[in-house]
């Protein structure tokens, strides 16, 4: 299902938040990556690393006031950042759809779930409410909601968390978009439900050939789902690679640290190795490596020269002193 021409090509995407009385803050700082049709790409990092802002910038959903977005977001050859708001409105929900983190707050509490599905079909497919209802019921069935003909009349508060997230996925997939962006879709759910939702997403994107951008802080989610993984730190990509090589030989100390913080069942008795500090300790990228203060193996150069993202053999790395690959 994969071809070489990218479906989405993000180039040098930079998002700056203007803050009253303070220096503008670069939440996303020159991020570039590509998604090919049908591919599943992960954007991984801690909260505040810019992964959600990246997705909102692609969708054109950032508040317009006070923010500057630069770079390119090419989707099937069109730079989305140059589209008018009306043209972007036509594409959202039809070509690119999004699933959000908290399924309860992401559904309108006073509108039946069925209508929240049909309104996308009414908008982009020109269907009437009446004609769209059976289609919506079918979508709900596909995402594993039992008894969809009855459930379609339910309000969000009458559904469980897992069902709400399934409904949101049904909404996102209603118009068979070519790209789906899932922003932490399992974070607000119980662990058992998390696995079900991930399995559902995986099955659906494989069946429909939809490309998926998976945004998460959880490498466990990435491991089961993504073809390629981008690790973000402080608004920049610090490492990129196909799933298996990246997990087997993480080169960036940050990626290595993220992997070390995952609890593993086969390592009983071993201590987890957390990454010390938090994103708040960031250095600016301008004159140094932003991760240096929290790094396990910094060298002098890390606080003097900004590392660049170097690509080789399908891997990309932004580090002066990468983790040695054990041979």
């Amino acid at each position: 299902m994969m071809s070489d021409a990218p479906l989405l090509s993000v180039e040098d995407l930079t998002v700056t938040f203007g803050r009253r009385g303070q220096e503008p803050f670069r939440a996303v700082d020159g991020v570039s990556f590509q998604v090919r049709p049908g591919q599943t790409v992960g954007l991984v990092g801690e909260s505040g690393c810019g992964k959600s802002v990246t997705s909102l910038a692609i969708m054109g959903l950032l508040p317009q006031r006070g923010n500057t977005v630069s770079g390119r977001v090419d989707f099937e050859g069109t730079n989305l950042l140059e589209l008018s708001t009306d043209d972007m409105r036509d594409r959202r929900g039809r070509d690119i759809a999004m699933v959000f983190q908290d399924p309860l707050s992401s559904l309108n509490p006073v509108v039946p779930v069925g209508v929240q599905v049909t309104e996308v079909l009414e908008r982009h497919r020109g269907m009437t409410r009446k004609a769209a209802m059976p289609v919506a019921a079918d979508l709900l069935r596909r995402v594993g909601i039992p008894d969809p003909d009855r459930r379609i009349k339910d309000y969000p508060h009458q559904m469980s968390g897992g069902m709400r997230q399934r409904a949101l996925i049904a909404i996102a997939l209603a118009c068979a978009p070519r790209l789906l962006i899932a922003d932490e879709p399992t974070t607000a759910l119980d662990v058992t439900i998390q696995a079900q939702i991930l399995a559902l997403l995986k099955e659906l994107v494989e069946d429909t050939g939809t490309a998926l951008i998976m945004i998460t802080h959880d490498l466990g989610v990435v491991a089961g789902l993504c073809d390629e993984v981008n690790v973000l730190y402080g608004g920049r990509i610090v490492e990129r690679g196909a799933r298996h090589p990246l997990f087997r030989d993480p080169r960036h100390p940050y990626t290595n640290g993220l992997l070390g913080s995952i609890p593993r069942l086969d390592a009983v008795g071993e201590r987890l190795t957390p990454i010390p500090g938090s994103v708040a300790d960031n250095l600016p990228w301008d004159h140094a490596c932003a991760f240096a203060p929290r790094c396990s193996q910094p060298i002098e150069r890390c606080t003097q020269v900004t590392p660049v993202l170097e690509e080789s053999f399908g891997r990309a790395l932004r580090c002066h002193n990468p983790v040695e690959v054990p041979r």
């Binding site: 969708m59 959903l61 972007m88 409105r89 036509d90 594409r91 959202r92 929900g93 039809r94 759809a97 999004m98 959000f100 908290d102 707050s105 992401s106 559904l107 309108n108 509490p109 006073v110 509108v111 039946p112 309104e119 996308v120 908008r123 982009h124 009349k153 309000y155 508060h157 009458q158 949101l168 909404i171």
Partner: protein, 343 residues
């Protein structure tokens, strides 16, 4: 309304109607006791302080005020259930109190209704637009306007409007409810009467008389509803489901109506209901300035004269209107918000 909404809403309405009748009964008791615990009394008000004990006793007996208070209350309830509220002793001595209510109340209702209509029709769209252009000139200007609306006393605003629009520029009538055109009376609501009898000049005259007092009276509910709408819309705009709606690429109209306003209306509707109480109080002052002939004037005289029958019927009816409006508010709440229905 779809069937799945109707059933639960009907059950909800019945439950609320039962609660409402309870409220009215308790209120009637409190009102009855409260009026009779006021210093002075009907007898002193009619006969003066220096009346002889004999004449006082005679009048007390004639008015039934010599009986134990619980007996008086039960008699009052028994008669009220048959629609009899006794004769006036002060406002129009001898006239049936309910008659006074019937002639006075429509004026106040007409005035209050137009005032709340003006307030809501202006405040909700303006509140929405102000929230969407937060920090812009329109937002700032309307916030200042609403502050003035709350701060300026209603009777002062009424005087200003009357001075400029009626006296100085002569655009609208100075006082009263209608010119004497020999209009047919049907319901006591003059605008409505004119429409029913096709005497459109009567409706037009009544409407012209309503405009100034209604705008004066609308100032506070306008300001309050505007502020609440603006705040509610600002809150809702930050909600995740509005972002979801945007992510679906829905049109601005659908996002505004179904996703923003429908949720933002919940606090607004509650506020409108509560404002009706303040409105009835404000109407008393406004009516005074425009000699409007509503319950305001009657209430003032009835208080001075301790006219229990008139006070009871007017206050109970005003309270009933307030309770009914708030019932309507709660019903519309249940229609808007499914979470209320199932509670």
């Amino acid at each position: 309304m779809p069937k799945e909404v109707c059933g639960p809403v009907l059950r909800y309405i019945i439950r609320r109607l039962l609660q409402m009748s309870g409220v009215i009964v308790v209120l009637s008791l409190l009102l009855f006791l409260w009026l009779r615990s006021l210093p002075g009394g009907t007898v002193s008000a009619i006969l003066g302080e220096r009346a002889t004990p004999e004449s006082r006793a005679r009048l007390e007996k004639a008015l039934g005020l010599d009986e134990p208070i619980y007996l008086q209350y039960f008699r009052f309830v028994g008669r009220a259930l048959r629609g009899e509220f006794g004769a006036s002793t002060g406002v129009l001595p001898g006239r049936d109190a309910f008659d006074i209510f019937l002639t006075r109340f429509p004026a106040t209702i007409e005035l209050s209704f137009l005032a709340i209509l003006i307030a809501v029709v202006v405040a909700i769209p303006l509140g929405y637009v102000a929230a969407r252009s937060r920090g812009g000139w329109l937002d700032n200007a309307s916030v200042v306007a609403s502050l003035i609306g709350v701060a300026v006393p209603v009777f002062f605003l009424a005087f200003l409007l009357k001075y400029f629009f009626a006296i100085k520029w002569g655009l609208l009538p100075v006082s009263g409810r209608q010119e004497s055109l020999g209009c047919t009376r049907v319901t006591g609501f003059f605008v409505l009467d004119g429409l029913l009898t096709r005497e459109f000049d009567c409706s037009w005259s009544a409407l012209r008389h309503l405009i100034l007092p209604a705008f004066a009276l609308a100032s506070i509910p306008f300001a309050v509803v505007f502020r609440i709408t603006r705040a509610a819309v600002l809150d809702v705009l930050d909600e995740d489901y509005v972002r979801t709606a945007e992510a679906k690429g829905l049109t601005k109209q659908v996002i505004r109506g179904r996703h923003v306003l429908r949720n933002a209306m919940l606090p607004v509707v509650t506020t409108i209901g509560l404002q009706v109480g303040a409105l009835l109080a404000g109407a008393v002052l406004t009516e005074k300035v425009f000699a409007f002939g509503g319950i305001g004037e009657a209430l003032a005289i009835a208080f001075q004269m301790r006219d229990y029958s008139v006070l009871q019927v007017l206050i109970l009816m005003a309270a009933t209107v307030f309770v009914v409006v708030n019932l309507l508010v709660d019903i519309s709440y249940a229609v808007i918000d499914p979470r209320v229905r199932t509670r």
